[in-house]
């Protein structure tokens, strides 16, 4: 019964093959219905779960795509809601995060002594700038020994040059200070062997999750905090997410904020029914990349993803562009907060003992990346003059109190009021904030933007090198609808290129995609995604951790590397063996199944003959577990592609 469509599809395939005499796959040859289902799940989701293909078949591919384009019509997975509920920082405004997750105060004994309080200016000057050995000895020996000890900690080396007995004293004072600090640190954060009995220590280090939980819950509040802090630092709380977060909140609250953001992303990728939305949030956050390691990025990304990216992924491009341009995360990441109108002053004189004066001026970083990476593309037709003009237009777009409120603020004093010419548009002088808004408008409507955005979307969803015909049609939709991203996606998903033989299985999965698709294919339960995030970072893609504004590449090519393959094989081995803390795969569903069946289930379609042969030949005479079979399939060349 299934043979007839297969014969037809073979004929459809063979016709162009026979005509052209080639075996390259084509963008104008449509996939069979069965292959379309697999393909659409590969591209619009982070990987198919068992049962997904039947669901798509039941609804019909077109209707399923349409639903994904309108996620408000899809009920969300209650498991997801349960997983992200405890991630408290996700719901907070930036200022609330700064308040609730302020870093702990550093340990200090007391204020260092101020030389001015015990010495005259002349004496200080002799100590610092060239008194003779005798003079300096006289000054220092006139002090009481304990006062002198404290003072020695603050003086520069030349103050005690030539005075060996005082150098010894200084060394002793430094050692004493270090010891005092260490003692204080130990008092506040005792090591584990001072807090727990040896038996408790053993259980808490290497016991089961239940045992660890039991011991920690049995402690009084202060001891509980101290023990959690140590365990958190030693990374012994994976798989116990609530405790892990509690420990982090005590020791490194700002890392917890970033950690919750990462957990949220992975829970959503694994569990959300709104898969296309999650794929798009990943795409657009990458497009408007912000790095979590620079300045306040760690704290600001929570609001950035929630307020400047997610609401717009099915909306208008221009609105997302403006939202990112105004968001403190972007303004800080690309240094626009320091950008000011260039001054006309001549350079200031260079005074001795002073650093060379930092002349405040224009910072071109945001202006350049706004055009090169966010809108027109590097070949989009802008010049260096345009970069300068755009940078000048955005002077004054800055952030008020970055470490506290971190709010957008337009500072007129920093703004360049003169006329600017951007891509042949004249911006009249003296219009303040409107300059930047106009530039956003100009860029959003520039024909190169339509092409650049369309090409990037096509790279992510269709092929690393998408056909120009598709890019042109998507770009026309972009222009016609004034940047309606849902419409552009519809043009793309309904195109023949999207559903073509050439597109299917052509892209190499990124580390994020291989890890999440493995978890989804196994239908594993993820109760803590911290360890998964670490594995993704180890494979080369630390989430929110791309330093460069280019973001992670959309082309699969970039992930191909020899170390990458070994990393993926070892990840699959660990995952199926239950050795990734926080992720529990149920391998029993593969019991007693033949390799070909296991492979088909995990890949979503029949594996190649070469794959099956290798497996069957390789397992001859061996004891084969379901974990081993699953590992082999998840490491196969086929599973690396989507």
């Amino acid at each position: 019964m299934k043979r007839l469509p297969r014969v037809l599809s073979v004929v459809v395939l063979l016709v162009p093959v026979l005509i052209l005499g080639q075996t390259t796959r084509r963008f104008d040859v449509k996939l069979t219905p069965d292959k379309q289902i697999v393909h659409v799940l590969n591209r619009l989701t982070f990987g198919a779960r068992p049962g997904d293909a039947s669901e798509v078949r039941r609804i019909g591919v077109e209707r399923w795509i349409d639903l994904q384009l309108h996620p408000e019509r899809i009920p969300e997975n209650p498991v997801l809601e349960a997983r992200v509920e405890p991630l408290a920082s996700l719901k907070l405004q930036t200022w609330e995060i700064n308040e609730k997750y302020a870093p702990p105060q550093p340990i200090s004994i007391r204020r260092p002594i101020q030389p001015a309080s015990i010495l005259s200016p002349l004496q200080i000057s002799k100590l610092r700038d060239g008194g003779t050995v005798e003079e300096r000895r006289e000054i220092l020996m006139s002090l009481a020994p304990d006062v002198r000890g404290e003072l020695l900690l603050t003086l520069p080396p030349q103050a005690i040059e030539g005075l060996t007995e005082l150098q010894d004293e200084a060394a002793k004072a430094r050692t004493a200070q270090q010891q005092a600090q260490q003692a204080e640190r130990r008092r506040l954060n005792p090591p584990l062997n001072e807090l727990l009995t040896p038996d408790q220590q053993r259980q808490v280090r290497s016991g089961t999750d239940q045992e660890k939980l039991a011991i920690i819950n049995s402690l009084d509040p202060q001891k509980r905090q101290q023990v959690l802090r140590v365990l958190g630092q030693q990374n012994l709380l994976q798989g116990l997410p609530a405790l892990r977060r509690e420990a982090m909140a005590l020791a490194r609250p700002q890392d917890l904020v970033n950690g919750e953001l990462i957990e949220n992303k992975l829970y959503r990728a694994i569990y959300s029914n709104h898969q296309l939305e999650e794929v798009l949030v990943d795409f657009w956050l990458n497009h408007f990349n912000v790095y979590n390691g620079k300045a306040q990025g760690r704290i600001l990304l929570t609001s950035y993803e929630r307020d400047a990216i997610r609401p717009y992924v099915f909306g208008r491009f221009k609105e997302m562009l403006l939202a990112t341009a105004r968001h403190p995360a972007m303004l800080i990441y690309l240094d626009n907060i320091n950008s000011q109108a260039p001054r006309d002053d001549a350079s200031l004189p260079f005074a001795p003992n002073q650093q060379p004066p930092r002349r405040p001026g224009l910072n071109e970083n945001y202006g350049r990346e706004l055009m090169e990476l966010h809108t027109l593309g590097v070949d989009g037709g802008y010049t260096q003059d345009d970069v300068v003009a755009v940078a000048r237009a955005f002077t004054g777009w800055t952030v008020a109190e970055p470490a506290r409120y971190a709010e957008f603020n337009f500072n007129g004093n920093m703004h360049d009021r003169k006329e600017k010419i951007v891509l042949e548009h004249k911006l009249p002088p003296g219009r303040g904030e409107q300059d930047g808004i106009d530039v956003i408008d100009i860029l959003a409507h520039h024909p190169s933007t339509a092409k650049f955005i369309s090409k990037k979307l096509a790279q992510r969803f269709v092929a690393d090198d998408p056909p120009q015909s598709l890019i042109d049609r998507m770009s026309a939709t972009f222009t016609r609808t004034d940047g309606d991203l849902r419409a552009v996606l519809q043009t793309m998903f309904s195109s023949i290129e999207f559903s073509s033989e050439a597109a299917a299985q052509s892209k190499l999965k990124s580390p994020l995609e291989i890890v999440v698709s493995s978890v989804r294919a196994l239908n594993a339960d993820a109760v803590d995604t911290f360890a998964l995030a670490q594995r993704i970072a180890d494979l080369g893609q630390p989430l929110y951790g791309k330093v460069e504004p280019t973001g992670y590449p959309n082309t699969g090519e970039s992930w191909a590397s020899t170390a990458g393959i070994l990393g993926r094989i070892n990840f699959a081995t660990d995952l199926t063996a239950g050795r990734v803390p926080g992720v529990k795969p149920d391998m029993s569903r593969f019991n007693f199944k033949l390799p070909a069946v296991v492979a088909t289930e995990l890949l979503g379609s029949a594996p190649s003959a070469a794959t099956i042969e290798s497996i069957e030949k390789g397992i001859q005479g061996k004891e084969v577990t379901p974990s081993m079979l699953a590992t082999i399939v998840l490491s196969s060349p086929e599973f690396q592609r989507r």
Partner: protein, 400 residues
């Protein structure tokens, strides 16, 4: 089908699982075989402070503009180690002094990129590409490799670290190894099945990647079987030391290593430089010295060069640290090196002598240094490795 219970674990089967052993295995066996020239690139990420690493103690200006962080002159407490009466090494680099004395260590000061880019990642990308002013997809060290032949070792180009650095990206196969001991599949049975699967896959790209991976794994597995003790009492320090130790082990196993890369971060000392630089230099200097001691006579075949994306401001900033700068110091270490000399033209530290009135000038393009090493040691002409660059007069870094 799933009935038999014994499990084949013999490494011999894993190694020779496909009939004839690959030719590189046979090649590596012969004495003196696989002992070619080796070029090692070390990247100090974060802009190392060259002025405090190779101290121009003869310049009074140096002490004027760095009142709290200048390294004292030789002879004073915590003073620099005198090299030639003008320059000295930071005291924490004492382990490198013997190599200076024996002529294996040369220094090029005021070296770097002619571009004034002070962005860490851009400047790193451009230096690793070998193309100031733009970033290429591939790196200079990859371009310095000859095309592979069937007898080329799978571990001829190795980056120590989890990620492939731009320096070694490109057309020639290179591998990134986080840790030699860890570069193996958790399950050998699975690995051999996958090896066959990748070899017979119609996915050409995956098949090639797979072959590179599995070949390297087998080679490193056989290397790991021989326990390793550094020679001459060499003691490696820290993560950086570990990386160099890995390179040393690969070299001594005659695996056919041709080029290697390692990096060390943490140099971006905007404040409290005196609290951070000494510890880092301790790791840096001790490990480089340990490597040279460990390699012993084999240093005759090795040239190691260090670089950083740019230097730091000549004057200190308001936080007892320094900001991003320009010119920097490069070390060149090896048997073939014309050591015991500070190369390059010293530009001076007076305000009008500084780049943009704030940083040490660059008087030697880093490509002059690297291209001379590539030409003299590996044998590749400069033009193919550094596109768009025309070398000037040679510096004389290598013995004739």
């Amino acid at each position: 089908m799933l009935t038999r219970r014994y499990f084949i674990k013999s490494s011999a089967v894993v190694m020779a699982g496909f009939g004839v052993a690959p030719s590189w295995l046979a090649r590596a066996a012969g004495p003196g075989e696989g002992r070619g020239k080796i070029l090692i690139s070390i990247f100090q990420r974060g802009a190392a402070d060259g002025l405090n690493i190779v101290v121009p103690f003869f310049e009074k200006r140096y002490y004027d503009i760095r009142p709290s962080i200048a390294v004292p002159a030789p002879g004073k407490q915590n003073g620099a180690i005198d090299l030639d009466g003008r320059f000295g090494l930071h005291p924490q680099l004492q382990p490198l002094k013997p190599f200076w004395d024996s002529g294996q260590l040369a220094i090029v000061h005021a070296a770097g990129s002619p571009e004034g880019n002070r962005s860490h990642f851009e400047a790193q990308d451009q230096m690793e590409s070998g193309t100031p002013g733009r970033t290429m997809e591939d790196g200079w060290l990859n371009r310095a490799l000859q095309p592979a032949t069937p007898s080329t070792s799978p571990v001829r180009a190795v980056a120590m670290g989890a990620k492939m650095p731009r320096t070694l990206r490109g057309n020639r196969n290179a591998i990134a190894i986080g840790d030699l001991q860890q570069f193996q599949a958790r399950d050998q049975g699975v690995a051999s099945i996958l090896e066959s699967m990748y070899a017979s896959s119609s996915d050409a790209q995956m098949s090639a990647q797979g072959k590179g991976t599995f070949d390297a794994m087998k080679m490193i597995d056989s290397i790991n079987r021989t326990p390793y003790t550094p020679a001459n009492g060499a003691q490696y320090v820290g993560e950086f030391g570990n990386a160099l130790r890995g390179i040393a082990r690969l070299i001594k196993s005659d695996a056919g290593l041709e080029v290697a890369f390692a990096d060390i971060g943490g140099w971006d000392h905007h404040s409290n430089e005196n609290g951070q630089l000494p510890g880092l230099l301790n790791q840096f200097g001790s490990s480089l010295a340990a490597f040279a001691r460990d390699m012993g006579d084999r240093m005759q075949d090795i040239v190691l060069v260090t670089m950083s994306e740019f230097g730091r401001t000549a004057a200190e900033d308001g936080n007892a640290g320094t900001d991003h700068g320009h010119g920097n110091a490069m070390f060149v270490l090896g048997g073939p090196v014309n050591g015991g000399k500070v190369f390059g033209t010293w530009p001076g530290l007076e305000p009008e002598q500084l780049f943009q009135k704030r940083d040490l000038e660059v008087t030697t393009d880093f490509r002059a240094v690297l291209s001379e090493l590539v030409r003299g040691h590996v044998g590749q002409p400069a033009e193919s490795v550094f596109p768009g660059y025309k070398p000037g007069d040679p510096l004389g870094l290598l013995k004739a």
